[in-house]
Symmetry: C2
Subunit: 245 residues, 2 copies
DNA sequence: ATCATGCCTTGACTTAAGTCAAAGCTGATC
DNA sequence: GATCAGCTTTGACTTAAGTCAAGGCATGAT
């Protein structure tokens, strides 16, 4: 069915399955189906019946809501090794959001019923699942905080700092770890997509970029963003605003 | 330590522990501590170190974020039988939000380490926990959708319909189930608190109430709200708006 | 009964951000 | 190398919603 040895050792690097035995991993592969999607392919749609849970082998997936008039709010973007669509797989209710491939992606798909069996059989997986869901929930709470407390330029600043700061070493192109005087990062999203992450529209995002640039906090060159003053950017991202009672 | 027989049978009505055996329930009570809080008491604060997980025996708890300037965003209000603060208990990172008692409340508290042991020992609880977390995540996704797509009057309409419509028979005071020509509900929150749920401030909420009233969709009398036209209210709650690109 | 506190509402004002449409870019294709 | 499509930016405009402050209304205490 699948290239077992290769996939099994890859599964080991995954959040959900990292601490399973080799035999458990091979068993997993009996349940999973490998599905591939091209850039732009819809994986499932909000409101659709829950089918199962996915783990990303390659590619990137955006999970989003769409308003009746077509405004998009991205809830999360998932990368290699991460899992998504657990919520619907768990409770069997309709998908709470839609999912689409941002690039060519290979996904391991676990049909819902088999996935639930799996949980009942492997407490380890269940606990990992729990931790994963907890992380996703934390992220959602953060999105709410940003939407409720911050204006668009602040949300943009927050996003850029998150991309750059943490162990998130990807995207960073600046000097070497210890002392990097300037920090340049490259967006791996279109600005329209970034707007949908920040809960706004491209026109407004564009003005937010202008604002941060004109204050000397960043310099923008296409998808390359230089953080010129991380400290002030940090301060800006949590400064008081009028949109905040 | 605690009144075991009473508590054990009550635990049985709880989401988390509903399908446990009597002996498991009694074991649970060895771990749990009963804590009581008065109205307005802070249970834990965002950013504080994770202590453990709570189940509500009596009372109501609001979980919320507070902005630097003091704007409050309520993430969820939990009622009897529900559990909260699982996220921090699971991953051990700081609390993502604060919690406060809305009224006198008795909580069963499970210290984090013991709680984690519990999960490792009882797959049933772990699965229930997963389902519970999935529900909470769904709710957060809904909050994001509302904040991103709807203006304040629409969020208010959505909230009122949710209070009234579903199996949520509490709050409803109108005629008897089959044909209730008008639906009157009573808010069990102050309007300031409702504003914090809807991601706005009291002044704006007040104008939203006026708007819905003046269009004949509802009638407000203090905390009593009559839904005068559920169909139009429903339509209004998802109508197109300018705040939606 | 009166006072005071807290909650809610109202008014006048300001502003962030969405709308719509036009014009720039950029990169891909033929 | 020219054209085309899609993304991005800009401009002029509108509006939802926050700010601040004042006034009303109620409840509960002295």
């Amino acid at each position: 069915m699948l290239n077992e040895s290769e996939l099994a050792s890859w599964l080991h690097t995954t959040l959900l399955f990292r601490d399973l035995s080799r035999s458990q991993l091979v068993f997993l592969l009996r349940i999973a189906q490998l599905q591939t999607f091209n850039k732009g392919d819809l994986i499932f749609q909000e409101g659709g019946e829950a089918t199962g849970c996915f783990v990303i082998k390659t590619g990137r997936i955006k999970v989003f809501k769409m308003s009746p008039t077509g405004k998009e709010q991205i809830l999360n973007i998932f990368e290699v090794g991460e899992n998504f669509a657990e919520i619907a797989a768990l409770d069997g209710k309709p998908f709470p959001a839609s999912a689409e491939a941002l690039e060519f992606s290979e996904l391991l798909f676990f049909p819902r019923v088999l996935f639930l069996d799996l949980l009942h059989q492997s407490p380890d997986i269940t606990i990992n699942m729990l931790i994963s869901l907890a992380q996703h929930s934390r992220h959602l709470a953060g999105v709410i905080e940003d939407l409720s407390f911050k204006d668009v330029p602040q949300r943009l600043a927050t996003y850029l700092l998150n991309l750059n700061d943490p162990q998130n070493d990807a995207h960073v192109e600046g000097s070497h770890p210890p002392t990097s005087p300037t920090h340049v990062l490259t967006l791996d999203l279109t600005k329209s997509q970034l707007a949908a992450i920040l809960g706004t529209i491209p026109a407004t995002l564009s003005r937010a970029f202008y604002r941060l640039s004109s204050e000397g906090l960043i310099a923008v060159n296409g998808p390359k963003i230089e953080l010129r003053d991380r400290d002030r950017l940090q301060a800006f991202s949590q400064s008081f605003t009028q949109s905040d009672s």
